[in-house]
Symmetry: C2
Subunit: 338 residues, 2 copies
């Protein structure tokens, strides 16, 4: 496979590379006829611009890299679509990369993107990521980068976050107000800031209502439906049945709900459920799952905007944190019938 270059075109047309280059970049003055001929010949010859070379000399790519930990759930895809919306409009292209919740892959992805000369990065960390040195160095070196959703308090950089604490508290209070007293929290992956924040909301809601929480009421796991199923089976086996469950995401809630239903428990009569990060699944499951709705598209949009600002500002910008709010969607799974 042979690359056709502007040199080849220039040779064929008996002109110079600069003339050919001009034909492709509307800027410099060039004879309309010359331009036409060049463009036509280029097409005939099957010329395709080599962006690497162009980027190399212009020192920017108009590409933005996005790194997410997974995209099998619709959460991250929606965020990405939000980001694409504002990025496309400004002429940027988006390169997406997923780490499969693996730190090594994540790092490789970031480096691959960096080396591809993306002009900036939007990143949500994998559940495995514990060492943030690389990212902090990157930020400190002046590379434009925005962290969203999955991040660490310790990182000094711009972030777009959801107010996990507040909405976890609201969700828990909703259950308490319905009269539930033996509420369990499925917190997912323990180490993430967002998990800790949701857990804190869960705890403080109890504190506020002067209800004590036993350690066994908070259960750690992964973030998938299967994890919820495993927990539910264990609870049934040990015959420790909560009267309500607040899960750190819908997948966990749904997995557990299915197991309990299959074992004869009624929802919400025997056990109430509330999830987090409202997903499409939550609306089709029976009964429909209450959940905290996160503004996924908006998260993507805000992150993209922050990033573009940062790219424009160059070195004179200071880290900013955008904190977004959601909605509590109460559905049948958590409503005491009177």
């Amino acid at each position: 496979m042979k690359y056709i270059t502007i040199k080849d075109i220039a040779k064929k047309l008996n002109t110079s590379v600069s003339t050919v280059s001009r034909a492709f970049n509307d800027k410099s003055d060039i004879n309309a006829k010359t331009k036409e001929v060049v463009l036509k010949t280029a097409k005939e010859m099957g010329y395709r611009q080599n962006r690497m070379a162009k980027n190399l000399v212009q020192r920017r790519s108009f590409n933005i890299g996005i790194v997410v930990p997974e995209f099998v759930n619709s959460f991250f895809p929606e965020v990405i679509m939000g980001a694409q919306d504002v990025l496309f409009e400004k002429g940027y292209q988006v390169l997406i990369t997923q780490s499969n919740e693996c730190y090594t892959t994540e790092l490789k992805n970031v480096q691959s993107l960096e080396n591809s000369m993306v002009d900036g990065l939007l990143i949500s960390l994998s559940s495995e990521t514990a060492n943030i040195d690389y990212y902090q160095d990157l930020v400190n070196s002046g590379f434009p980068i925005i962290f969203f959703n999955r991040t660490y308090k310790e990182i000094k950089a711009s972030k777009v976050l959801f107010n996990d604490y507040k909405w976890a508290m609201f969700a828990t209070e909703h259950l308490i107000r319905q009269g539930y007293r033996n509420i369990y929290h499925f917190q997912g992956i323990k180490t993430l800031t967002l998990s800790r924040e949701r857990r804190r909301g869960f705890m403080d809601a109890h504190k506020k209502h002067k209800i004590t929480v036993e350690p066994h009421q908070v259960i750690t796991s992964g973030f998938f439906m299967e994890d919820g199923e495993i927990i539910a089976k264990k609870l049934i086996k040990n015959n420790t049945i909560p009267d309500a469950i607040f899960a750190a995401n819908d997948q966990l809630a749904i997995g557990a709900m299915n197991v309990f239903k299959n074992n004869g428990y009624k929802v919400p009569e025997d056990i109430a459920f509330i999830g987090f990060s409202e997903s499409k699944m939550g609306s089709i499951v029976e009964p429909p799952l209450s959940s905290v709705k996160q503004p996924t598209f908006e998260i993507g949009k805000q992150a993209a905007k922050l990033l573009l600002d940062q790219i424009e500002a160059g070195n004179n910008h200071s880290p900013q944190t955008v904190m977004l709010d959601g909605e509590l969607h109460i559905r049948e799974s958590s409503q005491k019938k009177i």
Copy 2:
């Protein structure tokens, strides 16, 4: 933001760029001590290799581009993960791009990837894509590219496909054998080859059993849950109620099923449902949805393998089509209770 280059390092160390370059590429002989010093200084200075420049001279990037039409449903993410598995192992990095079912975006994505000098492309076309000239040119120019799932018969290139015809036929026959006679087909987006194949399977199953199909039994729409809902509402309004529905994907089936259920129809007693491309949603909906299971990971793996073969082979390869098979997962939504 200033890039540190090997030149900077060379200057600081009073050595040549080639020595520095050697230190980073284990190949050429270089004094162990020199190498050590270079690497250390590089780290101190915050050097980061510019892959664009490297790629430019080496004329390859070890990056593979993937283009999908959407990834809010889990189908494409799963395919991508399959592809990543085999690509990572061979040292390739993956850049994902989504077209949002839009031809213009798709084309931009492809060009962006091409220009980023990806070594090859895995692509599934948007529902809007009608003109395939660009892709055919690309293929003809010798660029390694594999089409999967969403493609056109007309494109002369390597493909990884699912046997849509056969499994659509099986799914329909399953309904016929259960005794259903007034079966509707939600075919999704009409123009795609896969839609046409599934439709053909639906028709031929009827033909085989000598049942006539009226034109109004085949309904065109988009591919989302909302589309299924709209169709169902229309059918109810017109009081033309099928006794069974074979939908081109699970989303359509679920959308319609929910509307029918909310309007008092029993599934499968009043209407039976069977979907396609088994999704997680299908297993949590009530009653669980019968569906044709596609080997998503395997599709990705096969596509990646084909691509790597093609990259290795250079010009002496001929287009290959891999046709994969699935499974019919019969669940409650299509089982006549006796």
